[in-house]
Amino acid sequence: MAPPRALDEFVTEANEILESLAKDLFVLDQERGREPDPERLNAIFRAAHSLKGLSAMFGVDRVSRLAHRAEDVLDALRLGRVPLDDRLVDTLIETLDMLQALLARVSQGTHAPDLEVGADHLQERLAQLARGQADAGVDLLDQVGIDPQMRSVFTEYEEHRLRENVKKGVGLWKVRAVYSLADFDQQLAALNARLKPLGEVVSTLPSSQPGDESSIAFDLVFGSSRARGEIEAVLDGATLSPLTSRPAPTEVTPRPGPALVFDSSSSNAPRPATKWDDVSGSGVALPEPTSASGLRLSPDTSLRSLTQTVRVDIGRLDALMNSIGELLLIRSNINRLAEAARQVGTGVALPKLWGQELQREARALERKLDELQKGVLDVRMVPLGQVFDKLTRLMRRLVRESGKDVDFEVSGGDVELDKLIVEELSDPLMHLLRNSLDHGIEPPEVRRLHHKPQRGKIRLKARQQGNQVLIEVGDDGGGMDETRIRQVAVQRGLATEEQTREMSRRDLLNLVFLPGFSTRADVSELSGRGVGLDVVKTNLARLSGLIDIDSRRGDGTTFTLTLPLTLAIIRALMVGVSGRTYAVPLSSVMEIVSIRHADLRTVERREVFEVRGQTLPFVRLARVFKLAEAQRERSFVVLIGLAQQRIGLAVDELLGQEDIVTKPLGGRLRAIPGVSGATELGDRRAVLVLDVGALMEELTRPAAAAG
């Protein structure tokens, strides 16, 4: 294996390759039933090929072997030896998923024995698919008389494309263009763009005949059915000459093209090439998503990446650079003022003007720093579409495998969130979606019985609300069974029978998030992934996110995830407890009240207080953290949590709000219950940031209530 640093490089690049592969496969998947663009097929082949070479180079054999098999199939596909059918597309998509999974293990530095079997199986299937019939017979290219000199530089694939053009009976041309060395790449790109609507550019050859020092000539091999005049009209200075010395043999012209027929029906009969457009889609259960933005393929959309890299719009970087430029200006102004102050000397009053100027610079500094901060945050933002696309792909497959009839609706892929959050969202969302598919949507016969449309609906929706993003995963399935939840909770000792009776519906539903609610046996049956909803909740808590359920028997279930826009910088309320300072993320603070201790009451010996007619637990942070408590008459109470589920955290002092950057606690301290990290204040002191989700969990747990 390569050293870790090099391995990072490998993972980054492999990941980029997989991202582009995913995009192309995505289009292929969506365009089932249409003639695939040869360029796209070649791009997919190139991706597999590059990945194979790259992973072999870095000694990552597992990835290399699988990519190799995929490359073989894709090579056969682009060379027209195997047809593109549903089975092949499905297998390729599975291969992509497997490659991503393998790469994830590589980036974590762990082995993947559990993936071995699946990978071997896939390799076997790919090998079978690759066994198509070779294109035997006379070489058409010999017959049309192409200059052997020119042929000698064609790769096998280019020859194949040329052959395909000959088969179609289109004219083959040589386009010669002479461009300046400085900008030939742009010129060629422009020429390609003009030629593409008229035919296919098979190859671009730098001419062997040297031009002068500053220019270079290219020969483009171009296949087109258009008339010479039509082609010449777009050449803009380039010259056109016929490539072949003889016309193509007439008998091959109408031959049905076995090459790229999209065989979506069960029949394997060859189809005439011209009929491609008529081939209707296969009986895929999942229709096109109806949302406007969910599946949009913009150049920005990509799949979850394993790397720490963010691709940044150059405009955003320019804005940052501008801010820095202005900061440098302010620095020199401040330097000048400092120099002026030094020269005045000690004991002499500085001119008033100097003070004013300093103040002005300080204000400008503050403004520019705000701008810079905002700019850096902008750079971290990526569209949720990155994850939504991947989920859509997986869901399509899962729906197909499940045999259920389900619409999958996606919207809000353009909502942007911090890269860190987007990356971490993919697993929890996948879990919730699988949950909806496996357990939410009823079998068709049950749906009919309840007079529901036979086709179920699963929604994935995101929208921004102020400084938060709400993501909903909903289904119109059977909803959760409260009686069953009650039973399971009592059975597993998570609550007493009496407690469950007194619980609100909402509290009852929230029991499913408790660790231990789903046993291992349930979990594998439930989701096949060994994580229960408690893990989903913990993962979200780590992102300072909250999850809530709404479920109606018969109507379906909706999970709502509330996430902050960014983790990088959050606004926090600083509180003082027994002389210590803690930071409470402001996003989870509902309100702050002042309570006289004389007004406290107890319920089952636990302190409670009343605010606007509602009785809430009064939790002394000092006691939770086992700190010495000072005697006092009043406390400030910070109300944290969700609408119905709130607690009041009693603190001694309110120390104002700060923008903080939460940092993880180093190494060995990772898991301190109730603390999500630390931040540094102006005086460089470390201040702990409270993990409100975990604290709520701990303080409202029924077990804790019982004890």
Binding site: A6, E9, F10, T12, E13, R46, H49, S50, K52, G53, L54, A56, M57, F58, G59, S152, V153, F154, T155, E156, E158, L181, A182, F184, D185, L188, S203, T204, L205, P206, S207, S208, Q209, P210, E213, I216
Partner: protein
């Protein structure tokens, strides 16, 4: 000591860096990098390269086309040229050698091996 300029044409960033790192260890070798065939065409006239190492499978022009260009051009035709590519498609390999490539190196290769080849062609001690 005189420096020997070597041009590496490779579209895979990681492989490029690996090659550059390996060759960079050799005394008197100055490594230049091109990320595509087009970029190679631009860089070629600006330096006197003593060795070119190119990948075959690249997005703009393929390595064979680059070899052909180099070998037919009176300015560069004496420059030795290695093809480095993923395990051989025999047809592409044969064409590479026919077009005038001096060596055909198959990935994955050991950096030490390619260094040895480079040393031999540049007649380094």
């Amino acid at each position: 000591m005189s420096t020997h300029k070597v041009l590496i044409v490779e579209d895979s960033r990681a492989t490029r860096e690996l090659l550059a790192a390996a060759l960079g260890e050799l005394d008197g070798v100055e490594v230049h990098l091109a990320v595509s065939g087009f970029e190679a065409l631009k860089v070629l006239p600006r330096h006197r390269f003593e060795l070119i190492i190119t990948d075959i499978n690249m997005p703009d022009i393929n390595g064979l086309e680059l070899i052909n260009f180099v070998k037919k051009n009176p300015h560069y035709k004496e420059t030795p040229l290695f093809v480095v590519t993923t395990e051989g498609r025999p047809q592409d390999r044969d064409r590479g050698l026919q077009l005038g490539a001096s060596e055909y190196v198959v990935k994955p290769f050991e950096p030490a091996d390619i260094c040895a080849l480079v040393r031999r062609y540049l007649k380094l001690g």
